[in-house]
């Protein structure tokens, strides 16, 4: 009997040793080809500053990632210019998926394009990561298994801005926005949260103009004459420059407090230079000069060295998108699109703004929102965010329950 027990132990021990040695000697897992990413964004006209910024951030991430690769594979990418048109963007996405056979689609600044491509991605079962567009419908009511967002959305920004304005005691508002998906989304979100924070708020009036409308003077002068307590502008990539410039010329923000999402972002303020207005309340989810953590400082240094100027929020999103893609493939150990999607859900990556999670229930990255007011600072060649405060992502994001209900309602 004793002999038998010893021989069993010996057998088990031998097997264990063999498997350990076997594992150590087995070859490391490798992908058999490179990973191909298709980027659709706007590279012409005023929104091009955002598109280029995001691409630069993405490229920087890929440079770092491709040094060691992902299981031996490099991440490559191709770009297509959608010229801020959903029609062109959709056909570009189609070409990238059907012709170029990309593994992942990435883009874009135009929220309408993002929604159009998202519908296509769902049909084709191709993962699509949105990195600048902010309409909350992207991961909210119109979200699905294959679409992700690495940028903040209008629900988060609207809530942050509304609560900040409510704290300051404003209740009589004028809403002015661009008549397209993003304009409607951010304005609705702001007003929704404003009514929640201060139910007694009233709407003095609203104006909607065409995206990229060149002459905003008559619109702004008309709003001045209506004399609201404060104004919320729902303008995005194509219209920000004109709104900010016109506000500065007629001294709008000095006469009436104004709030705009991304007003404090450097991608918006830098090209305007001296033509940027002071005293505008704004939000963004990334600033290169605040907070000054070591991770942020390193990112800014590398970015500046590579591209000559500091990064804005699109670059930050592009950068973390690169890392999300790499880490998801690393975890999935497969080039299969569904494995990639599953790996990406709930994934956390380390970013210049700390650890960011890709929330599983809606595929929305949990990002903080920074609130500030535009102000001149002699240390910088552009306006900066004065008195900045940070709201953590989970305080401003809709709950998973909200998302579930929104998607149900949309069916």
């Amino acid at each position: 009997m004793v002999g038998r027990r010893w021989s069993v132990l010996l057998l088990v021990g031998a097997l264990a040793a063999a498997s350990v040695m076997g594992a150590a000697a087995a070859p490391a897992f490798r992908f058999d080809r490179n990973i191909k990413v298709g980027v659709v964004d706007t590279y012409s006209g005023p929104p091009a500053v955002f598109g280029n910024d995001a691409l630069n951030g993405f490229r920087l991430a890929l440079q770092e990632i491709n040094r060691d690769g992902v299981h031996g594979a490099r991440i490559e990418f191709v770009t297509r210019d959608e010229k801020f048109s959903p029609e062109i963007g959709l056909s570009m996405a189609r070409e990238l998926v059907l012709q170029e056979r990309v593994d992942v689609l990435v883009g874009t600044i135009n929220s309408a394009t993002a929604l159009a491509i998202s519908a296509f991605a769902r049909e084709q079962r191709v993962p699509f990561i949105v990195w600048i567009s902010k309409s909350e419908a992207i991961t909210g009511a119109k979200g699905h298994r294959y679409v992700f967002s690495t940028g903040e959305n209008t629900a988060m920004a609207g809530k942050a801005l509304a609560e900040a304005m409510a704290r300051r005691g404003y209740t009589r508002f004028w809403l002015a926005a661009e008549d397209y998906e993003y304009g409607h989304a951010i304005t609705n979100s702001f007003w929704r949260f404003m009514k929640r924070a201060r139910p007694e708020s009233t709407l003095v009036g609203q104006t909607w103009w065409r995206t990229g409308e060149p002459d905003l003077v008559p619109y702004l002068t008309q709003i001045l004459q209506a004399r609201p307590q404060a104004v919320f502008f729902g303008t995005g990539g194509a219209g920000m420059a004109n709104v900010m410039r016109t506000m500065q010329v007629i001294g709008f923000a000095q006469r009436i407090p104004s709030a705009i999402h991304t007003a404090i972002d450097v991608t918006v303020l830098r090209p305007l230079g001296a033509a940027a207005p002071e005293g505008v309340f704004g939000t963004t989810d990334y600033l290169y000069y605040y907070p000054e953590t070591p991770a942020n400082r390193k990112f800014v240094q590398d970015f500046q060295a590579a591209y000559g100027s500091p990064p804005g929020f699109p670059a930050f999103h592009g950068y973390i998108t690169g890392y999300f893609i790499a880490e998801a493939y690393r975890k999935a150990r497969s080039l299969d699109r569904d494995r990639f999607v599953e790996a990406l859900e709930g994934l956390r990556v380390r970013t210049p703004m700390g650890e960011v999670e890709m929330r599983g229930c809606d595929h929305q990255a949990v990002l903080p929102i920074i609130f500030g007011v535009t102000r001149r600072d002699p240390r910088f060649p552009h306006l900066v965010a004065g008195d900045p405060t940070i709201l953590p992502g989970r305080d401003v994001m809709p709950t998973c329950e909200d998302i579930r209900r929104a998607r149900e309602r949309a069916q």
Partner: protein, 292 residues
């Protein structure tokens, strides 16, 4: 909505109308004399804005920079137009009318991409000299100071054009050619030279419009699009080839939109189009007598 508000919006709309007038005057001149709807008129406007920016940047912060830009840009666009007309367009005069129109469309496509090639896809800002920055309060409305320049430039251009077409020999010949080119040819005038002059002048005005608008807006690709359709509609509403018509149409456009904002902010931008359609349904040849 009180009287002050209306007056204020009126003034704002007026300054926008001046740009429209300058560009439309050029378009209607070309249309009247050559009978060609110049589809690349908007591209020249855009080119004028970009050239103005380049000149102003090159000169730097010297206050004369803007004035130099305002002088240089129209000359560049006039040159471009003249070269195209002399070398290419003039060879098509004997051809089908449609070919002329399609040719100008082709040039528009080329010019737009040439601008993209030369200046890249990002937008530019032209800041006016410090004396013209900021705003003044006119009739209770905050009007950008530079818009005052527009309010002066418009009538100046209009007056110069009127003097030219009514008091100079060349101008009167142009008017005659617009009405009856065969008769003018019979009288021994080189009609082709008249065409060239009219075309060059029209292109000059397009560039001037672009240069004047440059300090007030983002200078960007695509700025020609809405302006082209607006100026075409203005020319049609005013009467093809009629300079006063271009003025009337521009005023209509600029003012219906800015005052319309007080009435129906949502739909105000469609007011000019609605009014245009209404006018044309009643008087298809335009408000004022057309040149032909």
């Amino acid at each position: 909505m009180d009287a002050a508000a209306v007056l204020g919006q009126l003034v704002v709309g007026l300054s926008r109308a001046m740009i429209l007038f300058i560009v439309s005057a050029g378009l209607t001149l070309i249309l009247g004399v050559l009978r060609v709807p110049n589809v690349f008129h908007g591209s020249l406007y855009m080119l004028g804005a970009f050239v103005a920016w380049t000149v102003a940047e090159a000169v730097g912060s010297h206050p004369a920079g803007l004035w130099l830009a305002l002088a240089a840009a129209p000359l560049v666009t006039a040159a471009v137009g003249l070269v195209l007309e002399r070398l290419l367009l003039s060879r098509l005069y004997h051809r089908e009318h449609l070919m002329l129109i399609l040719f100008t469309f082709g040039v528009m496509l080329v010019l737009n991409d040439v601008v993209k090639l030369l200046w890249g896809p990002t937008y530019r800002s032209l800041v006016p000299p410090p004396s013209l920055q900021g705003a003044v309060t006119v009739l209770g409305v905050a009007l950008p100071k530079f818009n005052l320049v527009l309010l002066v430039a418009g009538p100046l251009v209009g007056l110069s054009l009127w003097l030219f077409t009514h008091r100079t020999r060349a101008g009167r010949i142009a008017r005659a050619a617009a009405t009856d080119r065969d008769m003018v040819a019979v009288l021994g005038v080189d009609v082709s030279r008249v065409f060239g002059m009219a075309f060059g002048l029209g292109c000059f005005l397009a560039g001037l419009g672009g240069a004047l608008v440059a300090p007030t807006t983002s200078i960007t690709l695509g700025m020609d699009h809405s302006l082209l359709i607006d100026s075409f509609l203005i020319v049609i509403v005013g009467g093809l080839g009629n300079l006063w018509g271009a003025l009337a149409g521009s005023l209509l456009f600029g003012i219906t939109q800015s005052v319309g904002l007080l009435v129906w902010p949502q739909f105000a931008v469609a007011f000019p189009y609605a009014v245009t359609a209404a006018v044309l349904l009643v008087r298809p040849t335009g408000l004022l007598r057309s040149a032909w």
